[in-house]
């Protein structure tokens, strides 16, 4: 007879390093620091971690990190494909391991010197140009000889048809950036703390991808690390923090969809992976967009916030730009979104820093805490994956 039984999963700890442009230490050190911080937050010893999850493009080796932390008996490791698209998938897979009774304390981490050591936003070096399986971006091979060599170029190509069809101009995107920078300006952890921008600043920033994306539509390049500690809801109740329940979580990779070089599926005016994530998530939880009091949405580039708002059903197709313009993302709006400042305002730790902002909103500890309503449920999304976090 198996002793395993289904267990609800919860987030018991979160941790992060400072977010900077030059950390001055190794990526492994960043990973160890944020992992230790998440364990401290939960009130457990890193020795007791028994599962470890990150995603592709993290340079840190699982075993080396486990050695730093003195992990005594690791039962499970995985590294999820898709780069940042897998940010919310870490929560999904940690949940599944805890649900299945296979792990007690799952550590999720992502740490990088993505500004000081290498630069995601620049043209790739030879090594990055070569196809690497596990990134979900095989078709980058078909972009590079044509001068589409950066994430912004791939992202702009992805957004162009959507923006064209619904008549969304670059100026319309400014409302996403201005709102996120307003949140960041009030968040001491954010790189752009105390530095809000205006619509004019956005429109004066240089073209990165003309006529779609300006500099202020793009996420940052950052150094830093973020970690999350997932355990059972039952165990979490005896730990240091108020548990944050993982109400539901999922991944979705529909046919002919790939990460970012994503031009082969049927309708380029929508994001099928986010629609698939939404469908499963709402089915799994019995909840819907109207039940979310906040959302943290992967914002590599500003149009992708709009596409996801529509995919999750917060707006109808083509209406997200108007939703944001009328204050929908603001603290007193319909759906406070990316309240940490997002990946453009706070930092770009490959999506994970926005995941822990979702935890803070449930705990009631955000620097931009939603107070107009009781925060019962928060959506966190990285497009190809998502989770609903809730009060225990």
């Amino acid at each position: 007879m198996s002793k395993r039984r289904f267990q609800d999963a919860a987030i018991a700890g979160i941790g992060h390093t400072e977010y900077s442009k030059a950390s001055g230490r190794s990526e492994l050190q960043l990973a160890a620091e944020c992992a230790k911080a998440a364990c401290d937050d939960a009130g457990i010893s890193p020795h007791d971690i028994d599962g470890m999850i990150t995603f592709t493009i993290d340079n840190n080796d699982e075993i080396m990190l486990a050695r730093c932390l003195g992990v005594k008996d690791l039962a499970y490791t995985t590294r999820i494909p898709g780069g940042g698209a897998a940010a919310a998938a870490t929560i999904y897979q940690a949940m599944a391991m805890v649900n299945a009774g296979l792990c007690k304390h799952v550590l999720i981490w992502r740490a990088m010197n993505e500004r000081s050591q290498y630069r995601f936003g620049q043209n790739p070096n030879q090594q990055m140009m070569a196809f690497q399986s596990g990134n979900g971006t095989g078709s980058l091979l078909w972009c590079v000889p044509y001068g589409a060599m950066t994430p912004a170029s791939w992202g702009a190509l992805q957004a162009a048809r959507y923006m064209h069809r619904f008549g969304i101009t670059n100026r319309d995107l400014a409302f996403v950036s201005v709102q996120q920078r307003a949140y960041a300006a009030n968040n001491p952890d954010a790189w752009f703390y105390g530095k809000p921008i205006t619509l004019e600043d956005h429109q004066a920033s240089k073209w990165i991808q003309e006529p779609w994306l300006r500099l202020l539509d793009c996420c940052q390049e950052s150094d830093g690390g973020v970690a999350v500690l997932v355990t059972s809801l039952q165990r979490a109740r005896d730990m240091k923090q108020k548990p944050v329940r993982i109400v539901g979580a999922t991944q979705s990779i529909p046919y002919n969809v790939e990460v970012i070089s994503n031009y082969y599926h049927e309708d380029l005016t929508e994001m099928p992976e986010a629609k698939g994530t939404a469908k499963r998530l709402w089915e799994q939880t019995g909840l819907g967009p109207q039940d979310m009091q906040a959302a943290m949405i992967y914002d590599a580039f500003s149009p992708h916030v709009l596409l996801q708002l529509e995919a999750f059903g917060f707006c109808r197709p083509g209406e997200a730009a108007g939703f944001v313009k009328s204050g929908g993302m603001a603290l007193d709006g319909v759906l406070p979104t990316n309240t940490n400042g997002g990946l453009s305002g706070e930092a770009y730790i490959h999506g994970m820093n926005s995941m822990i902002e979702g935890v803070r909103q449930i705990r009631g500890t955000s620097h931009n805490q939603v107070t107009r309503r009781s925060v019962e449920h928060v959506l966190v999304s990285s497009g190809m994956a998502g989770a609903v976090l809730g009060k225990a």
Binding site: P145, A148, Y263
Partner: protein, 145 residues
């Protein structure tokens, strides 16, 4: 000793060569010859792109390499301004081309001013040289005929 050549050699291509995988070798080999080939299933005849070893519909491993019309439309486009893409003297126009055969590919639009690019404009295939003596298919506005 050495004498200057009568006419200066044409500038060497600076565009980087395609990265060739085994499953797409036919496509790039054809481009080197100035031919534009697509891949379809030998059984159910469905086109697929990017090329892959198995038909996603009927799972046949039989492949046909067929000459494409070279006609399509601009489905999406962008001009990479910053950082300037490696290998281009002027910013290229990067396009997603919707081919008449029913699938899409990323390419460049050439022979047109930036302000004349239009969504859904008809285009036809052409070829441009790359480093290493290769060629890649690009597209230009379709000539009236």
């Amino acid at each position: 000793m050495s004498t200057a050549p009568e006419t200066p050699a044409p500038p060497k291509p600076t565009r980087i060569a395609p990265i060739v995988t085994l499953d797409a070798k036919f496509f790039w080999d054809a481009a080197d010859r100035g031919e534009f080939l697509g891949e379809r299933c030998g059984q159910c005849k469905a086109f697929r792109f990017p090329p892959r070893p198995m038909c996603p519909h009927c799972h046949s491993l039989t492949r046909e390499e067929v000459k494409l019309s070279g006609h399509g439309t601009v489905h999406g486009w962008t001009i990479p301004r910053h950082p300037p893409p490696f290998g281009f003297k002027e910013a290229p126009i990067v396009v997603i081309v919707q081919l008449d055969e029913g699938f899409r590919m990323v390419s460049n639009l050439v022979g047109v001013a930036y302000h004349d690019v239009r969504q859904d404009m008809p285009v036809e295939v052409d070829f441009e040289p790359t480093m290493g003596n290769h060629k890649v298919p690009v597209f230009r506005p379709r000539s009236a005929s």
